[in-house]
Symmetry: C2
Subunit: 306 residues, 2 copies
């Protein structure tokens, strides 16, 4: 089924204790689209870049069969840039700079050919823009959105309106606590479900992810990586793997949502192995399937009837 | 198979945002023994109390078929007391007081009848005492031990010697990081395995537990409790459920270790539902089995061959 992705495209400069990458391809819509491209073709992308956005990046996205009819290229502006530095404990990072550039005045315009997209994945952008996208789509089967502390604190009212229009909200544990004002994650998820989404996914980084629906709670483990080089984009790779699997299968049963969470975790686990999209840019289907099965081995146990 | 438990017996006073319990039964050996008593009978307990230790507590432990031949009752002293207060976020607690009392000069004396115990579970006590216990046991099949920041920081040398003598080390995530000086938990576990134990279990509280052996990594989820009233003793209930299952089945295969981790998680999940041992003091085998199966439902997913 068709999948529309809306979010940022960026040039990131990232420092971790294990290395540095300068002006590399990043942004939520890039991580989401590339991750989803292993399941759905083409992925429809809506975003904005400046005249300095590398031709090679455009070609790469096109080669992944990502439809760029919705990509605005502003000749007079520069691409969104973000710089961040991770600490020894990779859970902590400092933002060194955020230059919004052309992203500051981004207005997502959905091409006519995208308006009947079945699945819509909204990266972590201004909730007013998230609303504006959802309003342009005719009867989507499922809308999934991400958010962050910045919007929860700064644009709560607009965010609540956007969330109300979503079927799935994906957020991390600290964001779930902040949004719900409840430290217990299961209760937090249930409070968030009352805000609109019928499915809540809480990403817990190195502790895996929780899926909460009306009837199901599912806990996916994290992949036990010993070498994490760059956590940037992991949450977006998760969203891309999740929605990619859902769009491929067009099956919204709880059992299939669980599998989607594991495919999301699979893409996220690849993502953090290398800087930028280096590790997820050229995966084979066999690699993805093998890791999916490793997740199964990691969490399954059999009953022993004594 | 026979199981020996050595640790503290205490009278705890606990405050949480959800209530308060005064002078209630606590201590690592109590939580471990009671949890293990659902799998092994009798559990052999070695510990110390003062003359003020309630008769009702003695009767309760005897009714759980816990063998108290190794319990020293010091007529001239008072029982160990601990007071703690949990914050709104139950992951944070303040110790209000620690009165070691008779526990200060505790020397574990293993009764002759206990010296051939097959399984030995050492609560979080001074590593010198842990060594002293292990030395008294003749060819145990498996020794499992717990520790804490206090010993890692304060008696590292003695602790390393005790750990070297253990087959299984159970500790929480912050303790694993502290002991190994490595933030990545999988790497931390591998470093700890080089210290001696061939099995490392890292408890992650609300994020579940990790089992690491030479050939297996297993991730058990946490039970999605909405109402946690008192986290005290959860780690000991985990250890008791784990070693209880192992002693019952006498099966040290990785597959059975996984089940043991889930039985440990099961007992821990019951433990935190009420204050002290209130919730685990009178469980039925059906309740335990049902929750074990809920853990299974929580983490299992099936492959979908497309």
């Amino acid at each position: 089924m068709s999948l529309l992705v809306v979010g940022s495209l960026a040039l990131d400069t990232i420092e971790t204790p294990f290395g540095k990458a300068e002006e590399v391809l990043g942004g939520s819509s890039v991580y989401i689209s590339v991750s989803a491209s292993y399941f759905v073709e083409p992925v429809r992308l809506v975003g904005v870049v400046g005249s300095d956005f590398p031709k090679s990046a455009i070609e790469f996205l096109e080669n992944k069969n990502i439809d760029l009819a919705g990509l605005q290229i502003i000749d007079t502006g520069k691409t969104f840039r973000w710089g961040g530095k991770y600490h020894y404990d990779l859970n902590v990072r400092d933002t060194l700079y955020t230059h919004l550039n052309v992203f500051e005045h981004f207005k997502p315009v959905i091409p006519e050919s995208y308006k009947k997209s079945s699945y819509v994945c909204l990266g972590n952008i201004d909730p007013v823009l998230q609303q504006c996208v959802i309003e342009q789509i005719q009867n989507p089967r499922l809308v999934i959105g991400d958010t962050m502390n910045f919007w929860i604190n700064g644009k709560r009212k607009e965010l609540l309106k956007a969330i109300e229009m979503m079927d799935v909200l994906v957020l991390n544990d600290s964001e779930a606590r902040l949004l719900s004002n409840e430290p217990n994650l299961i209760r937090a998820a249930k409070i968030i479900m009352k805000m609109g989404p019928r499915i809540v996914i809480i990403k817990k980084g190195e502790h895996g992810a929780l899926l909460i629906t009306e009837k199901t709670i599912f806990s996916a483990p994290a992949y036990p990586l010993e070498n994490i080089n760059d956590p940037t984009g992991a949450g977006d790779a998760f969203a891309g793997g999740f929605i990619g699997w859902i769009a491929k299968t067009d099956d919204l049963s709880d059992e299939n949502l669980k599998r989607a969470v594991v495919y999301g975790s699979t893409l996220a686990s690849f993502c953090v192995e290398k800087f930028s999209i280096e590790r997820i840019k050229d995966l084979s289907h066999l690699e993805i399937k093998d890791r999916f099965l490793e997740f199964r081995a990691l969490s399954h146990f059999e009953e022993n009837n004594l």
